[in-house]
């Protein structure tokens, strides 16, 4: 009939695109032929925290096609450009396929037994000589729930150390602490539906168009359909997001801490708050202040209950008096009149206001405080727990929520909002794990920055890194790379490609990735999504959960993992699920997730999901007639914290006159180990560039594409200047991305961190900028 297979496939492609755009077309019957022999399975996308659903087509043991999943409620049939990299991320030429062991400067192929025996011997030796706190495991928000759960049980319940961290410490920790100290439970009350249902969106330092494109598209669809919808972009840099915003408000780095306080000042001054909501749901608190920045090793800071003072509403109002718009104008750069206007936006009873933020707020030396202040806006005005008006903290990794936060693979956490410091929590965990409660140490382990500093100090003897690339992504990178290079610790790295971390390892283990294994991810809106294995991993590569259990057996902890070989993932999940039941974080049985495109917890007794937490309208933990009930917070009252302005850890001065900020762009994800494998794309966006404001560039005699040297007190790199490109920082600031493994930009970054969350500030340090 003159039609080729190619025509069939093109018809399929067009039909899928029409369907995703909302037009049902009759797909020609002959188009079905194009998909002959392809077996389709569902999986959440491998990349960011949005959690789009993907249909994966397999033929002859290889992935041959992917589709945005039309049944996926998150993305409704569409993926962002990173969808093109889903297959490529698995099929790069240089996949790691066999274990490697360091012999001097060479890495030598080894069997799994050799590699695992060596790792176990090193861990045993360190534990025997220096105790269990001399070893560590460092994972990620890309771990599946099963991987994180096995890691936590092994380290906390088996080896007996809380030295377990995820790379999510570098991106989400500030959000977690603020959720806990405000609401008593991690993760949002709202969900993505708020992007479709609201009419006002205030972005606090978030470039959603590039970092969360599918969610941004939902927001823009809402905006194009509803003229009332207003998008306000408050940022230190003009981006693709700015182009779509109704208003761009330039803010100085760290200015959010001042501007938010001043907005609250106006809301209090002009009585724009919701008096009844405040009286019923809010308690006012003041915490510990004048915290250090963590720049000294082992610098300790904690906000214990003894440090917290309860305030009356009147006392709180009095404390907020000095934070006037005029004062904030000087600190934040936002005109006082604009601050008054923002307060009226938040206070406008006819507007459904949403705040959205991500790394700009979290990677902040006062990140918890900024999160707290954003919640204050919503709690004072009562714009929370209602369809279309909520604060939403966006995440960056596919299971930063599901694994790092819900399973709790942090140095202080246990599953389902529990912590190691709490005896009752340790007892509950020990009960489910079938171990004596005293096996789980009460001492908080090393947080990420301290973990890698402890290598340099010679205190940490063994660290195993899975599914992440810390020797590119940590701040003040020179120090930790030098420590590793001088072989101060025994380092194991499990990954799918060679990275700047595998090059420093003593043992490199080849991992299975994404649909080469079975797993579950949890996304930003509390959606838990399962997938099955669809293809084999290459060579000898094995999934991380298998690696950990084989290691556990060699460490004498095999009895903790009595899972059948067939059905292992189900068994692990069902055990983990016990932690969640009855807590308001309830998960469904594993078999349910196999069938649906995810469910948002808490899953109700009747098996349906919860879109809005803490409201009788949707959350079954709130009884009828109770309206909104913050049932996870002490006395059902959420905390509005007084959080004063304190300056950043390092500010520009005569020697280092510019602000330096790092971030992400659309095409490259994280440290680029997966998205860096697309040659044409590398040519288009081949390397990290440094963006300058045109006036700064002119003053320094720098033209577009010139080589520019960026120097901080910690390091110096040369980058190509980008002027008038896709992003433009404000005057006095420069911006670069961290994906390029040939340009270790984090050597420039300061390792200051938030005193409460221990999350480093990758967005602010002082540099000098010179034409190279």
């Amino acid at each position: 009939m003159g039609l080729s297979r190619r025509d069939f496939i093109k018809a399929c492609a067009a039909a899928a695109a029409f369907a995703a755009a909302g037009v049902t077309t009759a797909r020609p019957e002959w188009a079905e032929a194009a998909e002959d022999g392809i077996t389709w399975g569902k999986a959440p996308c491998r990349y960011c925290g949005v959690g789009c659903s993907v249909l994966v087509g397999v033929k002859g043991g290889r992935i041959v096609s992917t589709k945005g999943d039309p049944a996926g409620p998150v993305n409704k049939g569409l993926n962002c450009i990173k969808g093109y990299f889903l297959s490529k991320a698995l099929y790069g030429k240089d996949r790691l396929t066999t274990p490697l062991i360091r012999k001097g400067n060479r890495m030598v192929e080894a069997s799994w037994d050799e590699a695992l025996d060596l790792i176990a011997a090193q861990y045993k030796k360190a534990i025997a000589e220096h105790g269990p706190d001399s070893v560590a495991l460092y994972g990620s928000g890309q771990w599946t729930i099963q991987e994180g759960y096995v890691a936590s049980k092994l380290m906390k319940g088996g080896i007996g150390t809380n030295n377990l961290e995820p790379n999510a410490r570098l991106c989400m920790a500030s959000a977690v602490v603020a959720f806990m100290n405000t609401f008593g439970s991690d993760e949002p009350m709202g969900c993505y539906d708020d992007l479709d249902l609201g009419d006002t969106y205030v972005l606090w330092g978030a470039n959603m168009a590039e970092a969360h494109p599918v969610l941004f598209s939902r927001l823009i669809d809402n905006k194009l359909k509803h003229p009332k919808v207003k998008l306000i972009d408050i940022a230190t840099r003009r981006t693709r997001t700015t182009k779509m915003a109704d208003e761009f408000i330039a803010i100085k780095p760290h200015g959010d801490l001042a501007a938010l306080n001043a907005i609250i000042h106006v809301i209090l001054r002009d009585k724009l708050y919701d008096e009844a909501f405040v009286a019923k749901h809010v308690s006012f608190k003041r915490g510990k202040e004048n915290a250090p920045y963590g720049l000294k090793d082992k610098e300790a800071f904690n906000e214990t209950p003894a440090d917290v003072k309860n305030l009356t509403f009147e006392e709180y109002k009095a404390l907020m008096k000095p934070y006037t718009p005029q004062w904030a104008q000087k600190v934040s750069g936002i005109p006082a009149a604009k601050i008054e206007e923002l307060a009226r936006v938040y206070g406008d009873k006819s507007r459904k206001v949403n705040s959205l933020w991500t790394m700009g707020v979290n990677q902040h030396s006062r990140g918890v405080w900024v999160n707290n202040l954003i919640y204050n806006l919503h709690l004072l005005t009562g714009k929370i727990c209602k369809p279309g008006e909520n604060p939403l903290s966006l995440t960056g990794q596919p299971s930063a929520c599901g694994t790092a936060r819900e399973v709790g693979t942090f140095a202080h956490r246990l599953p389902a909002d529990m912590v190691v410091m709490n005896e009752a929590h340790r007892k509950k965990a020990a009960g489910i794990w079938g171990i004596p409660a005293e096996k789980i140490p009460a001492k908080v382990g090393l947080h990420t920055v301290e973990m890698f500093r402890a290598i340099d100090r010679g205190e940490l003897k063994c660290v195993w890194i899975q599914c992440t690339n810390p020797f590119q992504s940590l701040p003040n990178l020179n120090r930790v790379r030098k420590a590793a290079q001088s072989r101060k610790a025994f380092i194991v790295v499990s990954d799918i490609y060679p990275t700047r971390s595998t090059e420093l390892a003593d043992v490199v283990l080849p991992s299975a990735s994404w649909v080469e294994k079975e797993g579950v991810f949890g996304n930003t809106e509390r959606r838990t999504q399962q997938w099955f294995k669809m293809v084999n991993a290459p060579g000898k590569a094995r999934e991380d959960v298998w690696q950990l259990i084989e290691f556990a057996k060699r460490m004498g902890h095999g009895a903790l993992f009595p899972y059948p070989e067939k059905g292992m993932h189900r068994a692990i999940f069902e055990e983990y699920r016990k932690f969640t039941l009855g807590t308001g974080k309830d998960l469904a049985p594993y078999g349910v997730y196999a069938k649906v495109r995810g469910l948002r917890w808490p899953v109700k007794a009747n098996g349906t999901e919860t879109r809005w937490r803490y409201t009788e309208a949707d959350d079954e933990h709130v009884a009828k007639g109770e309206g909104i009930k913050f049932y996870k917070a002490p006395n059902n009252k959420v905390s509005v914290w007084f959080r004063p302005y304190e300056p950043p850890a390092e500010v520009p001065d005569r020697n280092y006159p510019f602000w330096f900020c790092t971030g992400r762009l659309l095409e490259h994800w994280h440290t680029g180990t997966m998205t860096g494998r697309v040659p044409e794309l590398r040519r288009a966006v081949s390397q990290a560039t440094v963006e300058l404001h045109p006036e700064d560039a002119k003053r320094l005699g720098i033209r577009n594409r010139d080589q520019v040297r960026i120097t901080s007190r910690r390091g110096s790199i040369v980058l190509t200047a980008e002027i008038g490109g896709r992003g433009t920082p404000e005057r006095g600031s420069v911006f670069t991305t961290f994906f390029d493994e040939k340009k270790l930009v984090n050597e420039i970054c300061i390792d200051a961190f938030d005193p409460l969350s221990k999350e480093p500030d990758f967005k602010k340090c002082a540099v000098k900028v010179q034409k190279a």
């Binding site: 190619r6 496939i9 093109k10 399929c12 492609a13 067009a14 899928a16 695109a17 029409f18 369907a19 995703a20 755009a21 909302g22 037009v23 194009a34 033929k59 041959v64 096609s65 992917t66 589709k67 945005g68 569409l78 993926n79 962002c80 450009i81 969808g83 093109y84 990299f85 297959s87 490529k88 099929y91 790069g92 030429k93 240089d94 168009a209 494109p213 599918v214 941004f216 598209s217 823009i220 669809d221 194009l224 779509m244 490609y497 060679p498 990275t499 700047r500 659309l666 180990t673 860096g676 494998r677 697309v678 040659p679 044409e680 794309l681 590398r682 288009a684 896709r726 493994e741 040939k742």
Partner: protein, 87 residues
């Protein structure tokens, strides 16, 4: 040769003009322009890399809000893409 079905979003009033420009790219067929500013197109190229480069170009065009991927078939694509640093 890989083939993909994409949806390009733009402001409704600009969609017609952008669709014409998009159709001017070798390897891009515009299949429809919808009233809400969405353009449905099919992209084909010699390799996934070339395809991504093409789509990346569309994404950078003035007036384009986003390019999203609905369908991607690459059944005859060869393994490719060693890492840039050759680590």
């Amino acid at each position: 040769m890989p083939i993909s079905g994409i949806v390009v979003s733009c402001r409704p009033e600009e969609a017609g003009g952008i669709a014409e420009k998009i159709a001017g790219n070798r390897g891009v067929e515009v299949h429809g322009v919808l009233a809400d500013g969405k353009i449905v197109a099919v992209v084909e190229a010699d390799s996934i890399d070339a395809e991504v480069a093409l789509v990346n170009g569309l994404q950078q065009m003035e007036g384009v809000i986003s390019v999203q991927l609905a369908y991607h078939n690459f059944e005859d694509a060869a393994p490719e893409g060693a890492h840039p640093a050759g680590l």
